[in-house]
């Protein structure tokens, strides 16, 4: 449903996208993850026909976004990370405005607006002025606006940004409903655990390049062939860091209490050798093994980040 092929985009001297290629199949909720400047928003803006790529092609529903922008606009619902409001417009009028923009017949609009407000859990807010709604409600209204012309593809740039936990949970539920409606959803977020819960597949971007992509489970299990290991010791966990850093195929060492977690790029034989080295060196090892990674740890593994993931693209 969405295809990016060798997409490159520069802003002056900055390369925002660097030969980015990825494919999103129909009915899939697809997450884009990446730190600031990773190129998530640029890729989304190209798909939304707001930007021209320097080279490469982008297609939605088989239609080229550069050659056929008008057709593509009918195929997508686009929501940017910041939801701007129109003062002095009611929620129903706001949706009616976009319905008119998409040339939905007047006779159909009233029922359509009511259905959409119900879908996003705002059934009684039709007569409320948009600027008086909470941020969470505005985001849901923006989602309803994206759906006004029933597009098969939704492009949602950081939809959970700035929402409180309750609003995030509601948004997540709506995205689940959209998946049941067989919508293809491209979504970016910095809240990785939530993205893992919402998405079928994810792509990790860094400096405009695709680092890795695939089903969430696969990404979290194997990231560039490394294993995520944990050594638990009875004491001297901090001192163990230096020892581990001196060992071959070890990177990204982090201490959590008496546990030390790290990435190991070696094969099982080398892994066994590492354990043997630890015991021989006299470290009081209580536990040694592979830990199941969450998406954030996978993200850090593949992008080489030591800190957390930042907001924005």
């Amino acid at each position: 449903m969405i295809q990016l092929d060798q997409l490159t985009k520069h802003f002056g001297a900055v390369r925002a996208l660097d030969n980015l290629s990825l494919e999103v199949k129909e009915g899939v909720v697809y997450g884009l993850i990446g730190p600031n400047g990773a190129g998530k928003t640029t890729a989304m803006n190209i798909l939304a026909t707001l930007l021209l790529p320097d080279t490469g092609t982008a297609r939605v529903g088989g239609r080229d976004v550069v050659q056929e922008p008008r057709v593509v606009r009918q195929l997508i619902g686009y929501m940017q990370d910041f939801f701007g409001v129109y003062d002095g417009l009611r929620a129903s009028e706001y949706l009616d405005f976009f319905a008119a923009a998409y040339r939905i017949p007047v006779a159909r609009r009233s029922q359509l607006i009511q259905d959409l407000l119900e879908l996003v859990n705002l059934p009684d807010k039709g007569e409320v002025y948009v600027d008086t709604l909470s941020r969470g409600m505005k985001q849901r209204l923006a989602l309803a606006r994206c759906l006004v012309h029933d597009p098969p593809v939704l492009i949602l740039d950081e939809p959970a940004s700035g929402l409180d936990p309750r609003a995030r949970a509601e948004l997540k539920e709506i995205i689940r409903q959209l998946k049941h409606l067989n919508k293809t959803v491209l979504i970016s977020s910095h809240i990785l655990p939530e993205l893992a819960e919402m998405c079928d597949e994810v792509a990790i971007l860094d400096h405009g390049r695709l680092v890795t992509c695939g089903p969430v489970e696969e990404i979290t299990r194997v990231s560039q062939g490394s294993r995520y290991l944990k050594v638990e010791v009875i004491e001297r966990a901090q001192e163990l860091v230096a020892f581990l850093n001196s060992q071959p195929a070890v990177s990204g060492v982090r201490v959590e209490g008496l546990s030390v977690k790290f990435f190991h790029l070696g094969d099982p034989v080398q892994q066994a050798q590492l354990l043997q080295n630890l015991v021989t060196a006299g470290w009081p090892v209580l536990e040694f093994g592979e830990v199941r990674r969450n998406l954030e740890e996978a993200f850090m593994a593949v992008t080489g980040e030591e800190g957390g993931v930042e907001d924005g693209a």
Binding site: N45, L50, L51
Partner: protein, 282 residues
């Protein structure tokens, strides 16, 4: 046929505010009060008589006041039309709908000037008072309204163009006012200056024919103040040259031509895929 959605939305937003009605009422109150006070004072001065010839003075004052109003209000109404959407982060969303960039620009223009058109039309009864006492030809009143509409279109197109070009409404507003001032006061000053330069060694009122005379002629046919003076029968500077069109023809041509060009440029600036850096999308 349904009204353009952007225009409908803008009209909703502007005309449902009570301040729109209050502004209109206040404007009419001030102008109406002025006209009635002028008539009253004239009546008192002439011991119970009103000289119909004085209607002309009211007509002049009313018309100048309306032009000043246009120069102050129209740039303010239009300079934030596009940049305001950009600042509210609603422009990108609009540009991903099937609405055309041309449609968006024209709707913004119409919606922004609708309020001014209503204000000017609402002053018709005031002109009616002037008209009742005689001394003014119907053609002059119609000509004046045509002049207001043309001037409003030009000022509005200037505001929309600034609003499309600049990202910030503040910068757009200041530039719009600057351009309107340049068009009225700036060209006015230039006309007066060049006229004096052109009359060197020629004491009579006519300028020396030549390049300067052509410049002054062109400038005074695009300057709203000089056109207003022409409509009021005050006449302009005798340059001894002619553009071959009546003054209203060349002014109409200028306003419509420049206005349309500015609007085409504005809609070109809105082409979403060409202005990635200026839009500062992220």
């Amino acid at each position: 046929m349904e009204l353009n959605p952007v225009l409908r939305k803008e009209l909703y937003q502007r005309f449902r505010q009570s301040k729109t009605a209050w502004l209109l009422a206040l404007y009419l109150l001030v102008l109406g009060g002025f006209v009635l006070a002028f008539i009253y004072l004239n009546w008192r001065y002439n011991q119970g008589y009103y000289q119909p010839g004085r209607s002309w003075e009211i007509f002049v004052i009313l018309s100048v006041a309306q032009l000043v109003l246009l120069a102050f209000v129209v740039p303010g109404l239009t300079a934030g039309a596009i940049s305001g959407e950009r600042e509210r982060q609603t422009l990108n969303v609009l540009l991903t709908t099937p609405l055309t960039h041309r449609g968006i620009v024209w709707s913004k223009l119409l919606a922004s000037t609708a309020f001014m058109v209503i204000i000017i039309l609402a002053t018709l009864p005031l002109y009616g008072i002037v008209f009742m006492f005689g001394g003014i030809a119907p053609g002059q009143v119609l000509g004046m309204f045509g002049f207001f509409l043309l001037t409003m279109f030009l000022f509005a197109a200037l505001g929309i163009a600034c609003s499309s070009f600049f990202k910030r409404t503040g910068v757009s507003t200041v530039t719009s006012y600057g351009l309107v001032l340049a068009l009225t006061g700036g060209t006015g000053f230039l006309i007066a200056f060049l006229n004096e330069v052109g009359k060197v060694n020629r004491p009579e009122s006519m300028m020396n024919p030549g390049f300067l005379a052509w410049v002054v002629e062109i400038l005074q046919e695009i300057n709203p103040i000089f056109i207003l003076m022409e409509i009021l029968g005050e006449g302009g500077i005798n340059t001894g040259v002619s553009l071959g069109l009546p003054y209203w023809g060349s002014y109409a041509l200028f306003c419509i031509g420049v206005g349309v060009l500015l609007l085409i440029w504005s809609s070109h600036l809105l082409l979403p895929q060409r202005n990635s850096n200026r839009f500062n999308l992220k």
